[in-house]
Each structure stands twice: as structure tokens, then as C-alpha cells.
Symmetry: C2
């Protein structure tokens, strides 16, 4: 079983690009033609979910040779009910068929026995009524919220080891109110998010691959570059998933703050900035996939430039 | 639109019972006859999901006249894929048809725009491709993890107001490692979980119903009675959902520690202790629903006794 951290590292090196395409579709992002086609093929709400799969398929087709990974925001699928989850499953399978690493962004969390069920759902297999085992949503990695502590994270980490999968634990979220709890200062001088980083670092220690990074990684928003620099120092072995690039305001220079000193160990997610690139590029809505490809090329270059700049003037 | 807090209060008063049936089914909890029937009706994995619905239906039929609410653990359904989510949706609809309040235990959390999608998924409606709006998983309430802070919680709270729904935010989880992050002491003397309680209290202020409790409530494990007493004082207006009773070790006396001084404001979840009551009562596995009913009657009595004892000797 190849360690997830090493698989991810190889995929990023192969594409020479640490970009993750965020597949967080909403119906209002879809061009009318695509919606009309889906609406003609099924009844609501299945037609809504079908439209999401068609949208995702075109984005994956347009980008799979450029990028190593996709990240599916679970909420976007859950809001369409069981049919929406069909769309999520289909998208996972399709992305993997194109050689992409698939991250489900579910921020799941619970006590141990329930965390084990989530781990089976997204990273492993579940025992079926006939004794067989099947994957529910066969992702390569899942985002996890560590508020419940070690025994809520351990079942995920154990599944990472047995199945060659990964998790990314929320340390510093990208939203404006992230500090409400995360910035509170502890009596030992650390902030809450720094304490979470220390927990992630210790939980990840047994899952470090040959690349030097761990399959138990972290989420640190690109919107907090100063915190990211310090968090990288606190978590030298963590793969860091970096949301908040683009539409949320994070720049390439911000995003690379969470990378390791060797310019690896980070992956930068872009969702709206790629899905809605046609707006920024003043292209026809029907050409959203070509616009996303152009934007992804620009983003790849921006990240390379930012990483080169950092190599010359390390923080 | 009736405030959720008031609806919940009325439902508990009507049944004179603050018990929540936790519908957290696993296939190994099901009697063989039920599994054989489901296996004959569909292919895997749909047959696994079908078995869960049959199990849930019998539990709901056996208990709906005794209890005010059910809580569905999302992970138990997600592990069977889209068909598992069909089972969750079916169970939600069936429980509501029996007059029960339905809580989805998903511990969802994310930045604002994604939190809004989760709120639509579980508490509201999503706009469909034909312009109609439909419910994905039409629960009455959802559990939420507040680590992302105010703007990650606000979309849920706004949906609670507009749709007459509720949320329960994790404050103190019931698992043994809860303290890893939650017990850390802040420089102002509070623990992290107390700071979360204070946030919940402030977020809930605008959502207080005529009953004096808020539709923005909290989760406090029955396994931490001393903390529960202090948390009730910190959150005098919060509905508190109390997991950890029974199989996890919490007693009736432990569970009622989180109730308000008027012996209301709390609801106590029991999952395994009801679903697996046939074991404890040495009954035939096929009679799991009757065993659950007996156990629920015992639990109701135990909670009433504990509440009466507390009335005599208030903490």
C-alpha cells in the first residue's frame, strides 16, 4: 500500500503544479444550455444533480492533464439530496478514472465509533448485507475537524494507514471569523489554532512517508499568510491543503507561505476562480471549461513564480 | 413560523419525556430475518440501505408515542453511499409522518457560503433546475461544529429563523479524548469549551423562543456531569442536546445535570442502549423493537426520577 503522502507528492511533481480544482458546483454557475439538457433528461431533483455531473465532467476533461487533484465540497452535493450524492459518487469515480487524486471536503468529525463510520464511508469500505465490502464514496482523502480530539481522529488515521489514504485536519480556516475561537490565547501563550497544529503534528508523526510529509495533514487558509508561515514551522511534516485562493482573496504569494522550505508540502485549492473564470475573462458562459483551463494555466504560472520568488528570498 | 425551541419544548411536554431515540444503525445490529428479507429485495448496496430503513421503521413504530424526537447519525447512512442517503431521507420522512421532531447529527461546519449550502440541505430548500425549491433532507434540526466561528454559524442560524428550525453546536463532546483541545485553558481562565459555550450563548441570543430557550442550542456529553452543571450556568438559554447516555456510560443523574433549573431545556439521546436493548434484556434479537420500547420506558422513568431528585436537592 503506497503511503498517501507519497502518492500526492508524486502527482504534484508529475504535473509540476500544486493546484487543486475545487468542484463546488452550484446550479447558478452552470450555462443555460447545460441546464436545459439536464432538465430534459430527468425529473427534479435528479435533473439538478445530473446537471452538476455534466458540469464537473467538462471541468475535469478540461483540466485533468494540468492538475494533480480535485476537491469536492460535500455540501454542494448534499443540498440536492440522495441524487446529489449520486452526482458526488459519479464525479469521484470519473476524476479517479482520469488519474486525479480526489479529496472530499466534508470536514467530518465525531466520537470514535462514528468517526470510524465516516472513515469507512470516504476512505475505506463498508461491510454489506451479503458479506461483501463496498466503497460508498471512494475518495483518496477527506477533510476532518479535530475539535473532538484524538479518539475522534484516530479511526481516520488508522484507515489512512490501512488503505493508503489521507486526511487534512482544520487548523486555520479561511473565513473572516476564523479567529472567533481559533485566535483565543491559551495560558501557555499559544493560540487555539496553534494548539490544534501541535495536535495535528503529533497525530501525523506515525504517518510520514518517504517524501517527508505525513498522510495526516492540515488545512490552513491562504487568507492568513502570516499565520501560515508560523504554522509551517509548527507542522514541518504536514501536507497543508490551502483553500481561500482567488475568490476569497488569497494571492499566490499568500498561498505559498504554507509550503515547506523545499517548496513542496502544499496544495492550493481554487474553486470559484476556476469554475467562474469565464466571467473574469469575459468569455461566453458556454466556454466555462476553456476559461477554467486558461485560468488554471495562469494560476500554475502564478504559483511557480511565487515559489521561485520564495526560493530566492526565503522567509 | 413557530420557533423551533418552542416546538421542541411543546413536544417534550406533550410526551412528558426528554428522550431522543438515536437512529445510528449498523448492519450488525439487525436481526437475521430482517437482513434476509432486505437482501432478497434488492442488490447490494441498495439492499444494505433497505435493511436500515426496515430497522428504523420498526424502532419508530415501537417508540413514537413515547418520545418526542429522533436523531439520525449521518455517518451511519453515508457509509452505504447514495443508497444509504436514500435510507436517511426515507427515515426522516417517516419519523416526521409520525409527529416526531427529527435531528440530523452531521456536525457540519464550513465557511459561510458552504455553511449556507449545508443549511439548505438539512434545514431549508435548494433551488432546482426548473426554478422550484425542494428539501434535500428535511430535518427539524442539525448538529453543527462551531470551530470556524461566527460567519460559519450565521447561515445556519438565519435558516433556523426563516424556516423555524434549530441547530445544536458542539460544546463538550462525549468521547474520552474530548479534552485534548476542549480542556485547554485560556489566558483569561476559561477552558476552550467554555469559550465555545460563551460563543453559543451569544449566537443564540436572537433566537430565544417564548419557552425561554433558543433555537441555537448546544451539545454537551452526559459523560461530563461536572462540566455540564457549569455549562448550563454559562448558557442559561440554550437547548442542550445530551449524547453519551447508556452505552457510553452516562447515567440519568449525569444526563440531567445539563437541564435548566426548571427541569427543562435538555434532551437526552440514547442510541445503542435502545437499539441493542434486546441484548441487555436477554430477549430474542427479532424482538429488538419491543426490547427498545421496554428500555425507553425504563429510561423515561430513570430521567423522571433523576429530575425529581434534582428538584428536591438542586445543584
Amino acid at each position: 500500500m503506497i503511503n498517501f503522502a507519497d502518492r500526492l507528492n508524486a502527482a504534484i511533481q508529475e504535473k509540476n503544479n500544486p493546484t487543486v480544482l475545487g468542484l463546488d458546483p452550484h446550479l447558478e454557475y452552470l450555462p443555460d444550455d447545460l441546464k436545459v439538457g439536464a432538465a430534459a433528461s430527468a425529473e427534479v431533483p435528479q435533473s439538478s444533480a445530473l446537471a452538476l455531473t455534466l458540469f464537473n465532467q467538462r471541468l475535469i476533461d478540461a483540466l485533468y492533464d494540468l492538475i494533480p487533484a480535485v476537491k469536492l465540497q460535500a455540501a454542494c452535493y448534499e443540498q440536492y439530496g440522495p441524487g446529489g450524492l449520486d452526482a458526488m459518487r459519479w464525479t469521484i469515480d470519473y476524476a479517479r478514472s482520469k488519474g486525479l487524486i480526489v479529496i472530499v471536503d466534508g470536514k467530518r468529525n465525531d466520537i470514535g465509533s462514528t468517526a470510524a463510520a465516516y472513515a469507512r464511508a470516504y476512505l475505506g469500505t463498508s461491510s454489506q448485507i451479503d458479506g461483501s465490502r463496498q466503497s460508498a464514496f471512494p475518495a483518496d482523502a477527506l477533510t476532518v475537524n479535530g475539535y473532538p480530539g484524538h479518539d475522534g481522529v484516530a479511526p481516520f488515521a488508522e484507515t489512512c494507514r490501512s488503505e493508503g489514504k489521507g486526511i487534512f485536519i482544520l487548523v486555520r480556516t479561511s473565513n473572516p471569523s476564523a479567529g472567533d475561537l481559533q485566535d483565543l490565547r491559551l495560558e501557555d501563550g499559544r493560540r487555539v489554532y496553534e494548539a490544534m497544529a501541535d495536535l495535528v503534528s503529533s497525530w501525523g508523526r506515525e504517518h510520514i512517508g518517504q517524501c517527508g510529509y505525513s498522510s495526516v495533514g492540515a488545512v490552513v487558509g491562504a487568507t492568513w499568510p502570516q499565520q501560515a508561515i508560523r504554522l509551517r514551522q509548527r507542522m514541518p511534516n504536514a501536507w497543508i491543503l490551502i483553500p481561500g485562493y482567488g475568490a476569497q482573496g488569497g494571492t499566490a504569494d499568500d498561498a505559498v507561505c504554507a509550503f515547506g522550505p523545499d517548496n513542496s508540502g502544499g496544495l492550493v485549492n481554487a474553486s470559484r476562480s476556476l469554475m467562474l473564470a469565464w466571467q473574469r475573462q469575459a468569455m461566453d458562459h458556454d466556454l466555462f471549461d476553456l476559461a477554467a483551463r486558461r485560468e488554471a494555466l495562469d494560476m500554475r504560472q502564478a504559483l511557480r513564480t511565487a515559489l521561485d520568488r520564495r526560493r530566492v528570498s526565503p522567509v
